[in-house]
């Protein structure tokens, strides 16, 4: 049978026939031939469509386009426009365009996820083409740099940033303007501005997204920072694991150089600024400022004691400003819109917005930007769509491996730097991991500690040895071998590691343990004393059993069991041999009747 791409149905009712449907069909045949479409399009004469007043009618499928009052002269246009180009001939359509006159909003703003956000750092992400500098410029890009260079003194720039209340988005929350003023005040023949795009927190990807979506905003902000502190050279330290971000940033730098937006004598003001990319190998500790600079200098990425602070002795022993990607992304907007505009957003001591990378047990995994002071409830339920599968919200982890968890009872806390610290967590870089009732809090703490043990650079003993000892205790507890006194030992270790580690990595590494202990101590105690994991996560403490009433004796579980731990026969519920069972959970996933239970 021949397959036609399109079908033209021409009304063969008597009324239409009277108004020339036969001729129309002939005309179609000849124009189809002329365009080589005779084997692709079939012309069919049909019965009356019932719209005789508007005849002759034709309908073209698969589009289902209804053409009314078609004249022989129209056929050529229909063939050439609709059938060749696929372009419906609107003037002949039945009702014109259905969508054209409605004001229905089909944009992203029609969904709650976007409607409730406020985008400053992410304003261009998903809007402009990051590989086209002109698009950035069309969206007022480099205007802030122009304004700064042509109308402001460095001191005025610093004053403006100070007044805006902008604080570092990389984790510490240090006031950006103040940091710049320190570096500006240190006279030196050479100064540097650096951007921290190491982004090592598991689950955080806002910096990558900004570099991928709006790289010019970072270049512009770094040039502004350089002008403010009296530097002429900058570098972006970005992990090599972000190839797309690196590529787009490089394209952006090249384009900016070509237009003379970085380089020599920018805007004819005599200001020079050069920028390059430094690739990191992806060690978490290299996000720490002194380790980052050591790494750029070509050494092993290990931190060094502070003071001296980078503002006095940073890269190559010169005064240096290091800021996070998101911090920089705010700067051009602050310059253009003013300090007051920015400081009106947010809370008393945390101004502006914060980008969160939300993941875990949440419907809308992704990036969102909200004013500081938005509550956790609004972020999780109103914007990110809540917890999937009808499960109950249990806790949210902020600040990644340096942070802590916030339990469901505190979900109405407004999120800002200070409120999170008060709860025993930190803002961190904005990773937000949502947990539901199926997450074991001891297991979560173990996960983060595994990460810090792995990422500890090993330079100082409290972090190198202490975190390892803590992890061993957690492994003991989660495998059902916990003893009285273990929890207290964890606390003692945690506090001494916190106080005696060299850098932020060690100083904050115990936070996930301390904060889960603070809010979920009962879960730790259940593990230790009752050998019970209520979330049924810790394998060594749970049993897989067959629910007799539900078992239909199909034997699928036994067939799938990798250790032959399941036996049974027709009409008798199957049985799992607990000595052989390795708790892989395959039987539970395979059972068609939900007859396997974790206990």
């Amino acid at each position: 049978m021949q397959l036609f791409r399109s079908h033209i149905l021409v009304c063969g009712g008597s009324s239409c026939t009277a108004s020339k449907s036969e001729q129309i069909i002939k005309e179609f045949d000849s124009h189809l031939k002329a365009n080589g479409l005779e084997n692709e399009v079939q012309v069919v004469k049909t019965g009356c469509f019932g719209l005789c007043a508007q005849g002759p009618n034709i309908v073209i499928y698969p589009e289902g386009a209804n053409y009314f009052r078609v004249k022989v002269e129209d056929v050529k246009e229909i063939v050439e426009e609709h059938l060749v180009k696929g372009k419906i001939v609107k003037r002949l359509l039945a009702t014109g365009d259905k969508n054209e006159n409605t004001n229905e909003d089909y944009s992203a703003n029609s969904i709650e996820f976007f409607a409730r956000q406020m985008r400053i750092a992410l304003r261009n992400c998903g809007v402009i083409n990051p590989e086209d500098i002109e698009e950035y410029i069309a969206y007022d890009g480099y205007q802030a740099l122009g304004k700064v260079l042509t109308t402001m003194t460095p001191a005025e720039v610093i004053e403006l940033v100070k007044k805006s209340g902008l604080r570092g988005r990389g984790g510490g929350g240090f006031p950006t303007g103040l940091k710049w003023s320190f570096a500006a005040g240190n006279e030196a023949p050479k100064k540097y501005v650096l951007c921290n795009a190491d982004e090592g927190d598991p689950g955080a990807f806002m910096d990558r997204s900004i570099l991928e979506g709006d790289p010019h905003s970072i270049i512009e902000a770094m040039a502004i920072a350089a002008y403010a502190i009296g530097s002429d050279e900058g570098a972006v330290y970005v992990r090599a694991e972000y190839p797309i971000a690196v590529k787009r940033l490089q394209i952006a730098i090249d384009q900016a150089k070509k237009l003379g937006l970085i380089g020599k004598d920018i805007f004819g003001t005599g200001f020079n600024f050069d920028l390059s990319i430094r690739l990191g190998a992806g060690a978490f500790v290299c996000g720490e400022e002194t380790a980052l600079m050591t790494s750029i200098e070509g050494h092993r990425g290990e931190p060094r004691p502070r003071p001296p602070f980078p503002a006095a002795k940073g890269l190559w022993q010169s005064p240096t400003v290091l800021n996070n990607v998101e911090t920089y992304a705010n700067v051009p907007q602050i310059i253009l819109n003013g300090a007051e505009w920015f400081s009106n957003i947010g809370t008393e001591r945390s101004k502006g917005t914060k980008v969160f990378a939300i993941s875990g047990k949440i419907k809308n995994t992704g990036l969102l930007e909200v004013p500081m002071g938005t509550t956790l409830r609004e972020v999780i339920f109103d914007i990110a769509g809540g917890i999937p599968n009808g499960k109950a919200f249990k806790a949210a982890q902020t600040g990644g491996p340096s942070g802590g968890c916030i339990p469901a009872s505190l979900i109405d806390t407004p999120i800002d730097y200070d409120s999170l610290v008060a709860l025993g967590s930190i803002m961190g870089s904005g990773g937000l991991i949502v947990m539901d009732e199926d997450n074991c809090m001891v297991d979560i703490a173990k996960f983060f500690l595994e990460f810090t043990v792995e990422e500890s650079c090993g330079k100082c003993p409290p972090c190198r040895i202490g975190t390892k000892r803590m992890l061993e205790i957690l492994e003991k507890i989660t495998s059902g071998k916990g003893e009285e006194g273990d929890i207290e030992k964890l606390e003692i270790l945690a506090n001494s590691i916190r106080m005696s580690s060299l850098c932020g990595l060690g100083q904050t590494a115990p936070n996930p343990v301390l904060s889960t202990l603070k809010y979920f101590r009962d879960e730790y105690e259940e593990h230790v004393f009752e050998k019970k994991c209520r979330a049924k996560v810790c394998k060594e403490m749970l049993k897989y059993i067959v629910i007799d009433d539900k078992c239909k004796f199909c034997g699928i579980c036994a067939k799938n069991c990798p250790t032959n731990a399941i036996s049974g026969e027709p009409k008798v519920p199957y049985l799992i041999d607990q000595d052989k069972c390795i708790k892989c959970g395959l039987c539970e996933t395979k059972c068609p009747f939900d007859a396997i239970e974790r206990k």
């Binding site: 589009e63 696929g86 089909y106 480099y142 122009g146």
Partner: protein, 127 residues
């Protein structure tokens, strides 16, 4: 770059081009091509759009990429942008759906209402 005027000239020219002057009928198509979009299959989507425009001999529609909008779960995301800057945002797009968008929205001005972000936000996208 020697002066602010020079920057402003680029801005105004490009702004015009992007908002395509009110008399123009042209739409723009942008495809989210950050890491999340690419991982979800934005490249075949972009290719399909370009191919479909080519087969139909349409060469006045600008197709470009953009970064991450934030709702990575619903990538690949494709937006059709009208001269007046109103947007139709499509989510969870694959090559087939991309061709439909070209045929229905671009060519025929009919929004594919079943593919918009609002329509699919509650789907799990087969995941």
């Amino acid at each position: 770059m020697n002066s602010l005027e020079e920057l402003n000239a680029i801005r105004d020219k490009k702004k015009d081009e992007l908002s395509q002057r009110k008399d123009s009928q042209n739409l723009r198509i942008v495809v989210g091509m950050a890491s999340c979009g690419i991982a979800a299959g934005a490249k075949p989507v972009m290719d399909a759009i370009i191919e479909e425009l080519n087969t139909r001999g349409i060469n006045d529609i600008k197709v470009s990429m953009t970064g991450c909008m934030g709702i990575c779960r619903l990538e690949p995301i494709v937006e059709v942008i009208y001269p007046d800057e109103t947007r139709v945002t499509y989510a969870n797009i694959d090559a087939e759906k991309a061709k439909r968008i070209v045929a229905e929205n671009i060519v025929n001005g009919q929004v594919c209402t079943d593919l918009t972000i609002e329509a699919v936000q509650n789907d799990d996208g087969g995941k």
